[in-house]
Symmetry: C2
Subunit: 258 residues, 2 copies
Protein backbone atom coordinates (compact mmCIF):
# COMPACT_ATOMS: atom_id res chain seq x y z
CA UNK A 1 0.00 0.00 0.00
CA UNK A 2 1.33 3.43 -0.89
CA UNK A 3 0.05 6.97 -0.95
CA UNK A 4 0.02 8.60 -4.39
CA UNK A 5 -0.70 12.26 -5.12
CA UNK A 6 -2.90 12.98 -8.13
CA UNK A 7 -3.06 16.57 -9.23
CA UNK A 8 -4.71 16.76 -12.63
CA UNK A 9 -8.42 16.49 -13.21
CA UNK A 10 -7.50 14.99 -16.58
CA UNK A 11 -5.73 12.02 -15.05
CA UNK A 12 -7.41 8.86 -16.45
CA UNK A 13 -8.16 7.61 -12.91
CA UNK A 14 -9.97 10.86 -12.12
CA UNK A 15 -11.86 10.78 -15.40
CA UNK A 16 -12.99 7.22 -14.68
CA UNK A 17 -14.02 8.22 -11.13
CA UNK A 18 -16.00 11.23 -12.35
CA UNK A 19 -17.83 9.21 -14.98
CA UNK A 20 -18.78 6.57 -12.40
CA UNK A 21 -20.14 9.26 -10.08
CA UNK A 22 -22.04 11.17 -12.72
CA UNK A 23 -23.22 8.66 -15.31
CA UNK A 24 -25.67 5.88 -14.65
CA UNK A 25 -24.93 4.32 -18.05
CA UNK A 26 -21.19 4.33 -17.42
CA UNK A 27 -21.75 2.60 -14.06
CA UNK A 28 -23.79 -0.08 -15.81
CA UNK A 29 -21.21 -0.57 -18.54
CA UNK A 30 -18.27 -0.74 -16.13
CA UNK A 31 -20.24 -2.62 -13.44
CA UNK A 32 -18.57 -0.35 -10.91
CA UNK A 33 -19.75 2.40 -8.59
CA UNK A 34 -18.38 4.82 -5.98
CA UNK A 35 -18.90 4.79 -2.21
CA UNK A 36 -18.88 8.36 -0.89
CA UNK A 37 -18.84 7.87 2.88
CA UNK A 38 -16.41 6.28 5.29
CA UNK A 39 -19.36 4.52 6.93
CA UNK A 40 -20.24 2.80 3.65
CA UNK A 41 -16.57 1.97 2.94
CA UNK A 42 -16.12 0.36 6.33
CA UNK A 43 -19.34 -1.64 5.93
CA UNK A 44 -18.11 -2.76 2.51
CA UNK A 45 -14.62 -3.75 3.73
CA UNK A 46 -16.12 -5.44 6.80
CA UNK A 47 -18.25 -7.59 4.49
CA UNK A 48 -15.00 -8.95 3.04
CA UNK A 49 -15.07 -7.00 -0.23
CA UNK A 50 -12.28 -5.03 -1.88
CA UNK A 51 -11.93 -1.39 -2.91
CA UNK A 52 -10.38 -0.90 -6.37
CA UNK A 53 -9.17 2.65 -5.90
CA UNK A 54 -9.52 4.88 -2.87
CA UNK A 55 -9.41 8.69 -3.16
CA UNK A 56 -9.25 11.16 -0.29
CA UNK A 57 -7.67 14.50 0.66
CA UNK A 58 -4.59 15.16 2.73
CA UNK A 59 -6.69 16.73 5.51
CA UNK A 60 -9.08 13.77 5.73
CA UNK A 61 -6.24 11.25 5.90
CA UNK A 62 -5.78 12.00 9.62
CA UNK A 63 -9.38 11.21 10.52
CA UNK A 64 -9.86 8.03 12.65
CA UNK A 65 -12.28 6.57 10.05
CA UNK A 66 -9.52 6.79 7.45
CA UNK A 67 -7.15 4.98 9.79
CA UNK A 68 -9.69 2.15 10.05
CA UNK A 69 -10.06 2.07 6.27
CA UNK A 70 -6.30 1.96 5.80
CA UNK A 71 -6.12 -1.09 8.06
CA UNK A 72 -8.54 -3.01 5.85
CA UNK A 73 -7.78 -1.58 2.40
CA UNK A 74 -4.74 -3.21 0.81
CA UNK A 75 -4.51 -1.07 -2.38
CA UNK A 76 -3.12 2.39 -3.05
CA UNK A 77 -4.56 5.57 -1.60
CA UNK A 78 -4.81 8.50 -4.00
CA UNK A 79 -4.64 11.99 -2.52
CA UNK A 80 -6.49 14.72 -4.41
CA UNK A 81 -6.88 18.44 -3.69
CA UNK A 82 -9.85 19.85 -1.77
CA UNK A 83 -10.96 21.71 -4.90
CA UNK A 84 -10.90 18.55 -7.02
CA UNK A 85 -12.67 16.58 -4.27
CA UNK A 86 -15.44 19.17 -4.07
CA UNK A 87 -15.89 19.09 -7.84
CA UNK A 88 -16.30 15.30 -7.73
CA UNK A 89 -18.37 14.60 -4.60
CA UNK A 90 -22.13 14.58 -5.03
CA UNK A 91 -22.82 14.19 -1.33
CA UNK A 92 -20.47 16.82 0.07
CA UNK A 93 -19.36 14.36 2.76
CA UNK A 94 -17.22 16.19 5.32
CA UNK A 95 -14.59 13.43 5.51
CA UNK A 96 -13.36 13.18 1.92
CA UNK A 97 -13.90 9.63 0.70
CA UNK A 98 -14.45 8.27 -2.82
CA UNK A 99 -14.00 4.51 -3.21
CA UNK A 100 -14.36 2.71 -6.53
CA UNK A 101 -15.89 -0.74 -6.08
CA UNK A 102 -17.28 -3.50 -8.29
CA UNK A 103 -21.06 -3.72 -8.17
CA UNK A 104 -21.65 -7.11 -6.51
CA UNK A 105 -22.87 -9.83 -8.83
CA UNK A 106 -24.84 -12.70 -7.44
CA UNK A 107 -25.60 -15.93 -9.19
CA UNK A 108 -28.81 -16.68 -7.32
CA UNK A 109 -32.14 -16.81 -9.07
CA UNK A 110 -35.27 -15.29 -7.56
CA UNK A 111 -36.56 -17.31 -4.61
CA UNK A 112 -40.38 -17.35 -4.62
CA UNK A 113 -40.73 -18.53 -1.02
CA UNK A 114 -38.86 -15.92 1.02
CA UNK A 115 -39.72 -12.48 2.38
CA UNK A 116 -39.35 -10.10 -0.55
CA UNK A 117 -39.61 -6.37 -1.18
CA UNK A 118 -40.74 -5.31 -4.65
CA UNK A 119 -40.14 -1.69 -5.68
CA UNK A 120 -42.60 -0.81 -8.43
CA UNK A 121 -41.22 2.38 -10.03
CA UNK A 122 -40.14 4.01 -6.74
CA UNK A 123 -38.11 6.91 -8.12
CA UNK A 124 -36.64 9.03 -5.35
CA UNK A 125 -33.11 7.82 -4.54
CA UNK A 126 -33.54 8.69 -0.85
CA UNK A 127 -36.74 6.65 -0.63
CA UNK A 128 -35.15 3.67 -2.41
CA UNK A 129 -32.05 3.69 -0.17
CA UNK A 130 -34.11 4.12 2.99
CA UNK A 131 -36.37 1.22 1.98
CA UNK A 132 -33.32 -1.00 1.46
CA UNK A 133 -32.01 0.02 4.90
CA UNK A 134 -35.35 -0.73 6.58
CA UNK A 135 -35.78 -4.01 4.69
CA UNK A 136 -32.33 -5.19 5.76
CA UNK A 137 -33.09 -4.25 9.39
CA UNK A 138 -36.37 -6.20 9.20
CA UNK A 139 -34.50 -9.21 7.76
CA UNK A 140 -36.03 -8.98 4.27
CA UNK A 141 -33.10 -10.09 2.13
CA UNK A 142 -34.52 -10.23 -1.40
CA UNK A 143 -35.28 -7.03 -3.34
CA UNK A 144 -36.85 -6.87 -6.81
CA UNK A 145 -36.94 -3.59 -8.76
CA UNK A 146 -38.87 -2.67 -11.89
CA UNK A 147 -36.90 -0.89 -14.66
CA UNK A 148 -37.99 2.64 -13.63
CA UNK A 149 -36.74 2.34 -10.03
CA UNK A 150 -33.84 4.68 -9.15
CA UNK A 151 -30.54 2.93 -9.93
CA UNK A 152 -29.65 1.02 -6.75
CA UNK A 153 -25.92 1.66 -7.10
CA UNK A 154 -26.09 5.44 -7.60
CA UNK A 155 -24.32 7.54 -4.94
CA UNK A 156 -27.60 8.88 -3.51
CA UNK A 157 -29.23 5.48 -3.11
CA UNK A 158 -26.03 4.10 -1.61
CA UNK A 159 -25.91 6.98 0.88
CA UNK A 160 -29.49 6.46 2.08
CA UNK A 161 -28.91 2.69 2.20
CA UNK A 162 -26.15 3.13 4.80
CA UNK A 163 -24.53 -0.18 3.90
CA UNK A 164 -27.75 -2.20 3.59
CA UNK A 165 -26.95 -2.98 -0.08
CA UNK A 166 -24.11 -5.26 0.96
CA UNK A 167 -26.30 -7.70 2.88
CA UNK A 168 -29.15 -7.87 0.37
CA UNK A 169 -29.81 -9.88 -2.77
CA UNK A 170 -31.04 -7.27 -5.26
CA UNK A 171 -32.50 -7.86 -8.73
CA UNK A 172 -32.87 -4.80 -10.98
CA UNK A 173 -34.91 -4.37 -14.19
CA UNK A 174 -37.35 -7.10 -13.19
CA UNK A 175 -40.47 -7.67 -15.30
CA UNK A 176 -43.36 -7.97 -12.83
CA UNK A 177 -45.67 -9.62 -15.37
CA UNK A 178 -43.21 -12.50 -15.44
CA UNK A 179 -42.35 -12.63 -11.76
CA UNK A 180 -45.43 -11.78 -9.71
CA UNK A 181 -47.59 -14.77 -10.74
CA UNK A 182 -44.86 -17.15 -9.56
CA UNK A 183 -45.08 -16.24 -5.87
CA UNK A 184 -47.07 -18.74 -3.83
CA UNK A 185 -46.72 -16.78 -0.58
CA UNK A 186 -49.02 -13.80 0.23
CA UNK A 187 -48.34 -10.61 -1.74
CA UNK A 188 -49.31 -7.30 -0.11
CA UNK A 189 -49.53 -3.82 -1.58
CA UNK A 190 -50.15 -0.66 0.45
CA UNK A 191 -53.08 1.38 -0.74
CA UNK A 192 -54.80 4.16 1.13
CA UNK A 193 -58.31 3.39 -0.08
CA UNK A 194 -58.82 -0.16 1.18
CA UNK A 195 -60.96 -1.54 3.95
CA UNK A 196 -58.38 -4.15 5.01
CA UNK A 197 -55.94 -2.74 7.51
CA UNK A 198 -52.34 -3.82 7.89
CA UNK A 199 -53.03 -4.74 11.50
CA UNK A 200 -55.63 -7.39 10.55
CA UNK A 201 -53.13 -9.41 8.50
CA UNK A 202 -51.36 -12.51 9.76
CA UNK A 203 -47.75 -11.82 8.84
CA UNK A 204 -46.03 -14.67 10.68
CA UNK A 205 -45.06 -16.49 7.48
CA UNK A 206 -42.96 -15.26 4.55
CA UNK A 207 -44.64 -12.66 2.37
CA UNK A 208 -44.05 -10.11 -0.38
CA UNK A 209 -44.44 -6.32 -0.05
CA UNK A 210 -45.00 -4.17 -3.13
CA UNK A 211 -44.38 -0.43 -2.85
CA UNK A 212 -45.28 1.92 -5.67
CA UNK A 213 -44.26 5.16 -7.30
CA UNK A 214 -44.38 8.33 -5.15
CA UNK A 215 -46.95 10.00 -7.39
CA UNK A 216 -48.74 7.23 -9.27
CA UNK A 217 -48.77 4.52 -6.60
CA UNK A 218 -48.75 0.86 -7.51
CA UNK A 219 -49.31 -0.29 -11.10
CA UNK A 220 -52.62 -1.90 -11.98
CA UNK A 221 -50.94 -5.18 -12.82
CA UNK A 222 -49.26 -5.33 -9.42
CA UNK A 223 -52.48 -4.38 -7.61
CA UNK A 224 -54.31 -7.16 -9.44
CA UNK A 225 -51.81 -9.68 -8.11
CA UNK A 226 -51.68 -8.41 -4.52
CA UNK A 227 -53.88 -8.02 -1.49
CA UNK A 228 -54.23 -4.29 -0.86
CA UNK A 229 -53.88 -3.23 2.76
CA UNK A 230 -54.14 0.19 4.31
CA UNK A 231 -52.33 1.77 7.26
CA UNK A 232 -54.95 3.51 9.41
CA UNK A 233 -54.22 7.25 9.66
CA UNK A 234 -56.34 8.72 12.44
CA UNK A 235 -54.93 12.19 11.74
CA UNK A 236 -56.59 12.10 8.35
CA UNK A 237 -53.60 12.83 6.13
CA UNK A 238 -53.97 11.56 2.61
CA UNK A 239 -50.83 9.47 2.52
CA UNK A 240 -47.51 8.64 4.12
CA UNK A 241 -44.13 8.88 2.46
CA UNK A 242 -43.53 5.58 0.63
CA UNK A 243 -40.40 4.71 2.65
CA UNK A 244 -42.36 5.32 5.85
CA UNK A 245 -45.35 3.26 4.72
CA UNK A 246 -43.10 0.37 3.70
CA UNK A 247 -41.14 0.44 6.95
CA UNK A 248 -44.33 0.44 9.03
CA UNK A 249 -45.40 -2.71 7.16
CA UNK A 250 -42.01 -4.42 7.58
CA UNK A 251 -41.96 -3.74 11.31
CA UNK A 252 -45.54 -4.86 11.84
CA UNK A 253 -44.24 -8.14 10.39
CA UNK A 254 -41.27 -8.02 12.80
CA UNK A 255 -43.64 -7.36 15.72
CA UNK A 256 -45.83 -10.35 14.88
CA UNK A 257 -42.77 -12.59 14.65
CA UNK A 258 -41.08 -11.32 17.85
Amino acid sequence: MSIIYLESKDNPKIKHLRALIEQNQYRKKQQQTVLESTHACLAWLDSGQKIHAFFTTEAALKHPDLQDIQELHTGHIFIISEVLYKSLSTLGTTIACLAVIDIPRHTQTINYNVDTLILDDVQDPGNVGTLLRSAAAANIKQILCTPAVASLWSPRVLRAGMGAHFSLCCFERVDLTNVLPQFEIPVYATNSHQANTLYEQDLKNPCVWILGNEGQGISEFALAHAKAVTIPQPGGQESLNVAIAGSICFFEMVRQRT
Copy 2:
Protein backbone atom coordinates in the same frame (compact mmCIF):
# COMPACT_ATOMS: atom_id res chain seq x y z
CA MET B 1 -57.36 39.32 -8.99
CA SER B 2 -55.11 40.32 -11.83
CA ILE B 3 -52.07 38.93 -13.59
CA ILE B 4 -48.96 41.10 -13.40
CA TYR B 5 -45.71 40.49 -15.29
CA LEU B 6 -42.48 41.04 -13.35
CA GLU B 7 -39.35 41.10 -15.41
CA SER B 8 -36.49 42.39 -13.27
CA LYS B 9 -34.69 40.32 -10.67
CA ASP B 10 -34.16 43.63 -8.85
CA ASN B 11 -37.87 44.25 -8.36
CA PRO B 12 -38.45 44.64 -4.58
CA LYS B 13 -41.02 41.85 -4.62
CA ILE B 14 -38.49 39.48 -6.18
CA LYS B 15 -35.77 40.55 -3.74
CA HIS B 16 -38.12 39.88 -0.82
CA LEU B 17 -39.06 36.49 -2.29
CA ARG B 18 -35.43 35.49 -2.81
CA ALA B 19 -34.43 36.48 0.72
CA LEU B 20 -37.33 34.46 2.17
CA ILE B 21 -36.25 31.41 0.17
CA GLU B 22 -32.56 31.66 0.94
CA GLN B 23 -32.25 33.17 4.41
CA ASN B 24 -33.42 31.51 7.58
CA GLN B 25 -32.83 34.73 9.57
CA TYR B 26 -34.87 36.81 7.11
CA ARG B 27 -37.75 34.32 7.39
CA LYS B 28 -37.64 34.65 11.17
CA LYS B 29 -37.53 38.45 11.04
CA GLN B 30 -40.35 38.74 8.51
CA GLN B 31 -42.31 35.81 9.97
CA GLN B 32 -42.99 34.73 6.42
CA THR B 33 -41.95 31.79 4.25
CA VAL B 34 -42.45 30.45 0.72
CA LEU B 35 -44.42 27.40 -0.40
CA GLU B 36 -42.79 25.85 -3.46
CA SER B 37 -45.33 23.25 -4.56
CA THR B 38 -48.89 23.42 -5.80
CA HIS B 39 -49.75 20.57 -3.40
CA ALA B 40 -48.61 22.64 -0.40
CA CYS B 41 -50.39 25.76 -1.72
CA LEU B 42 -53.66 23.92 -2.13
CA ALA B 43 -53.36 22.37 1.35
CA TRP B 44 -52.68 25.87 2.71
CA LEU B 45 -55.60 27.51 0.89
CA ASP B 46 -57.88 24.60 1.80
CA SER B 47 -57.06 25.19 5.47
CA GLY B 48 -58.57 28.68 5.09
CA GLN B 49 -55.29 30.60 4.99
CA LYS B 50 -54.23 33.34 2.58
CA ILE B 51 -51.32 33.67 0.18
CA HIS B 52 -49.64 37.11 0.23
CA ALA B 53 -48.03 36.98 -3.18
CA PHE B 54 -48.14 34.19 -5.73
CA PHE B 55 -45.42 33.80 -8.39
CA THR B 56 -45.49 31.43 -11.35
CA THR B 57 -44.48 31.23 -15.01
CA GLU B 58 -46.61 31.73 -18.08
CA ALA B 59 -46.22 28.04 -19.03
CA ALA B 60 -47.29 26.77 -15.60
CA LEU B 61 -50.36 29.01 -15.55
CA LYS B 62 -52.23 26.54 -17.76
CA HIS B 63 -51.70 23.58 -15.43
CA PRO B 64 -54.89 22.29 -13.70
CA ASP B 65 -53.29 22.76 -10.24
CA LEU B 66 -52.85 26.46 -11.04
CA GLN B 67 -56.50 26.68 -12.04
CA ASP B 68 -57.44 25.27 -8.62
CA ILE B 69 -55.14 27.75 -6.88
CA GLN B 70 -56.62 30.65 -8.86
CA GLU B 71 -60.08 29.69 -7.67
CA LEU B 72 -59.03 29.97 -4.02
CA HIS B 73 -56.38 32.70 -4.17
CA THR B 74 -57.90 36.17 -4.20
CA GLY B 75 -54.71 38.24 -4.64
CA HIS B 76 -52.57 39.06 -7.66
CA ILE B 77 -50.60 36.49 -9.63
CA PHE B 78 -47.11 37.55 -10.64
CA ILE B 79 -45.66 36.01 -13.78
CA ILE B 80 -41.88 35.64 -13.93
CA SER B 81 -39.61 34.21 -16.61
CA GLU B 82 -38.45 30.58 -16.61
CA VAL B 83 -34.88 31.75 -16.07
CA LEU B 84 -35.81 33.85 -13.06
CA TYR B 85 -37.96 31.04 -11.66
CA LYS B 86 -35.11 28.56 -11.95
CA SER B 87 -32.75 30.96 -10.18
CA LEU B 88 -35.21 31.26 -7.28
CA SER B 89 -36.61 27.76 -6.77
CA THR B 90 -34.70 25.52 -4.39
CA LEU B 91 -36.81 22.47 -5.10
CA GLY B 92 -36.88 22.59 -8.89
CA THR B 93 -40.62 21.87 -8.85
CA THR B 94 -41.81 21.15 -12.37
CA ILE B 95 -44.97 23.26 -12.03
CA ALA B 96 -43.59 26.71 -11.21
CA CYS B 97 -45.05 27.84 -7.90
CA LEU B 98 -43.69 30.23 -5.26
CA ALA B 99 -46.21 31.46 -2.70
CA VAL B 100 -45.34 33.91 0.07
CA ILE B 101 -47.27 33.16 3.25
CA ASP B 102 -47.22 34.27 6.88
CA ILE B 103 -45.77 31.66 9.23
CA PRO B 104 -48.79 30.69 11.36
CA ARG B 105 -48.73 32.01 14.90
CA HIS B 106 -50.56 30.19 17.59
CA THR B 107 -51.38 31.51 21.01
CA GLN B 108 -51.55 28.14 22.74
CA THR B 109 -49.13 27.18 25.45
CA ILE B 110 -47.59 23.70 25.63
CA ASN B 111 -50.12 21.08 26.72
CA TYR B 112 -48.45 18.52 28.99
CA ASN B 113 -51.18 15.91 28.68
CA VAL B 114 -51.46 15.26 24.97
CA ASP B 115 -49.55 13.08 22.48
CA THR B 116 -46.38 15.00 21.66
CA LEU B 117 -43.38 14.63 19.40
CA ILE B 118 -40.11 16.16 20.62
CA LEU B 119 -37.34 16.66 18.07
CA ASP B 120 -34.01 16.81 19.92
CA ASP B 121 -31.53 18.31 17.45
CA VAL B 122 -32.84 16.40 14.39
CA GLN B 123 -30.99 18.26 11.64
CA ASP B 124 -31.81 16.87 8.22
CA PRO B 125 -34.69 18.90 6.70
CA GLY B 126 -36.07 15.82 4.94
CA ASN B 127 -36.18 13.85 8.19
CA VAL B 128 -37.84 16.73 10.06
CA GLY B 129 -40.52 17.22 7.39
CA THR B 130 -41.17 13.50 7.09
CA LEU B 131 -41.54 13.20 10.86
CA LEU B 132 -44.10 16.03 10.86
CA ARG B 133 -45.99 14.28 8.06
CA SER B 134 -46.01 10.94 9.92
CA ALA B 135 -46.92 12.58 13.24
CA ALA B 136 -49.88 14.36 11.64
CA ALA B 137 -51.04 11.08 10.05
CA ALA B 138 -50.80 9.35 13.45
CA ASN B 139 -52.82 12.18 15.05
CA ILE B 140 -49.94 13.60 17.10
CA LYS B 141 -50.73 17.32 16.97
CA GLN B 142 -48.11 18.90 19.23
CA ILE B 143 -44.47 19.21 18.13
CA LEU B 144 -41.64 20.61 20.26
CA CYS B 145 -38.24 21.35 18.71
CA THR B 146 -34.91 22.13 20.37
CA PRO B 147 -32.97 25.13 18.98
CA ALA B 148 -30.70 23.03 16.71
CA VAL B 149 -33.57 21.35 14.83
CA ALA B 150 -33.80 22.27 11.12
CA SER B 151 -36.00 25.36 10.74
CA LEU B 152 -39.55 24.01 10.36
CA TRP B 153 -40.56 26.67 7.83
CA SER B 154 -37.64 26.27 5.43
CA PRO B 155 -38.55 25.18 1.88
CA ARG B 156 -37.03 21.72 2.31
CA VAL B 157 -38.84 20.92 5.55
CA LEU B 158 -42.07 22.26 4.08
CA ARG B 159 -41.64 20.05 1.03
CA ALA B 160 -41.10 16.87 3.03
CA GLY B 161 -43.99 17.84 5.34
CA MET B 162 -46.45 17.75 2.43
CA GLY B 163 -48.88 20.09 4.17
CA ALA B 164 -48.61 18.50 7.63
CA HIS B 165 -47.36 21.79 9.11
CA PHE B 166 -50.77 23.37 8.65
CA SER B 167 -52.57 20.95 10.96
CA LEU B 168 -49.95 20.85 13.74
CA CYS B 169 -49.16 23.00 16.74
CA CYS B 170 -45.39 23.50 16.54
CA PHE B 171 -43.11 25.09 19.13
CA GLU B 172 -39.56 25.91 18.01
CA ARG B 173 -36.47 26.75 20.11
CA VAL B 174 -37.82 24.86 23.12
CA ASP B 175 -35.58 24.38 26.17
CA LEU B 176 -35.96 20.70 27.14
CA THR B 177 -34.56 21.24 30.65
CA ASN B 178 -37.54 23.46 31.29
CA VAL B 179 -40.19 21.45 29.47
CA LEU B 180 -39.42 17.74 29.90
CA PRO B 181 -39.90 17.57 33.71
CA GLN B 182 -43.41 18.98 33.35
CA PHE B 183 -44.86 16.04 31.44
CA GLU B 184 -46.88 13.69 33.62
CA ILE B 185 -47.59 11.24 30.79
CA PRO B 186 -45.03 8.57 29.71
CA VAL B 187 -42.03 9.88 27.78
CA TYR B 188 -40.31 7.45 25.36
CA ALA B 189 -37.00 7.75 23.55
CA THR B 190 -35.78 5.33 20.90
CA ASN B 191 -32.40 3.84 21.61
CA SER B 192 -30.86 0.84 19.92
CA HIS B 193 -29.12 -0.52 23.01
CA GLN B 194 -32.01 -1.15 25.35
CA ALA B 195 -33.64 -4.34 26.53
CA ASN B 196 -37.17 -2.88 26.50
CA THR B 197 -38.77 -3.29 23.10
CA LEU B 198 -41.31 -0.93 21.63
CA TYR B 199 -43.76 -3.80 21.33
CA GLU B 200 -43.84 -4.42 25.10
CA GLN B 201 -45.10 -0.90 25.85
CA ASP B 202 -48.73 -0.06 26.57
CA LEU B 203 -49.33 2.93 24.28
CA LYS B 204 -53.09 3.28 24.61
CA ASN B 205 -52.88 6.53 26.57
CA PRO B 206 -51.25 9.84 25.57
CA CYS B 207 -47.47 9.80 25.51
CA VAL B 208 -44.40 11.71 24.38
CA TRP B 209 -41.85 10.54 21.78
CA ILE B 210 -38.33 11.99 21.74
CA LEU B 211 -36.25 11.53 18.59
CA GLY B 212 -32.62 12.53 18.49
CA ASN B 213 -29.91 13.82 16.19
CA GLU B 214 -28.97 11.63 13.20
CA GLY B 215 -25.38 11.22 14.37
CA GLN B 216 -25.36 11.85 18.12
CA GLY B 217 -28.73 10.37 19.06
CA ILE B 218 -30.70 11.70 22.00
CA SER B 219 -29.12 14.09 24.51
CA GLU B 220 -28.21 12.76 27.95
CA PHE B 221 -30.69 15.07 29.62
CA ALA B 222 -33.53 13.80 27.44
CA LEU B 223 -32.53 10.16 27.96
CA ALA B 224 -32.51 10.71 31.73
CA HIS B 225 -36.12 11.91 31.55
CA ALA B 226 -37.41 9.21 29.22
CA LYS B 227 -37.96 5.49 29.07
CA ALA B 228 -35.64 4.14 26.38
CA VAL B 229 -37.22 1.61 24.05
CA THR B 230 -35.71 -0.29 21.15
CA ILE B 231 -37.18 -1.46 17.86
CA PRO B 232 -36.11 -5.09 17.34
CA GLN B 233 -34.04 -5.45 14.14
CA PRO B 234 -33.74 -9.13 13.30
CA GLY B 235 -31.61 -8.28 10.26
CA GLY B 236 -28.93 -6.95 12.57
CA GLN B 237 -28.48 -3.46 11.13
CA GLU B 238 -27.12 -0.98 13.60
CA SER B 239 -29.89 1.59 13.29
CA LEU B 240 -32.84 2.82 11.32
CA ASN B 241 -33.20 6.26 9.77
CA VAL B 242 -34.62 8.56 12.47
CA ALA B 243 -37.78 9.38 10.49
CA ILE B 244 -38.38 5.66 9.99
CA ALA B 245 -37.78 4.80 13.66
CA GLY B 246 -40.13 7.57 14.78
CA SER B 247 -42.86 6.56 12.35
CA ILE B 248 -42.67 2.91 13.44
CA CYS B 249 -43.23 4.10 17.02
CA PHE B 250 -46.13 6.38 16.10
CA PHE B 251 -47.88 3.62 14.17
CA GLU B 252 -47.38 1.02 16.89
CA MET B 253 -49.32 3.52 19.01
CA VAL B 254 -51.97 3.79 16.27
CA ARG B 255 -52.18 -0.01 16.09
CA GLN B 256 -52.74 -0.36 19.83
CA ARG B 257 -55.47 2.28 19.73
CA THR B 258 -57.23 0.90 16.62
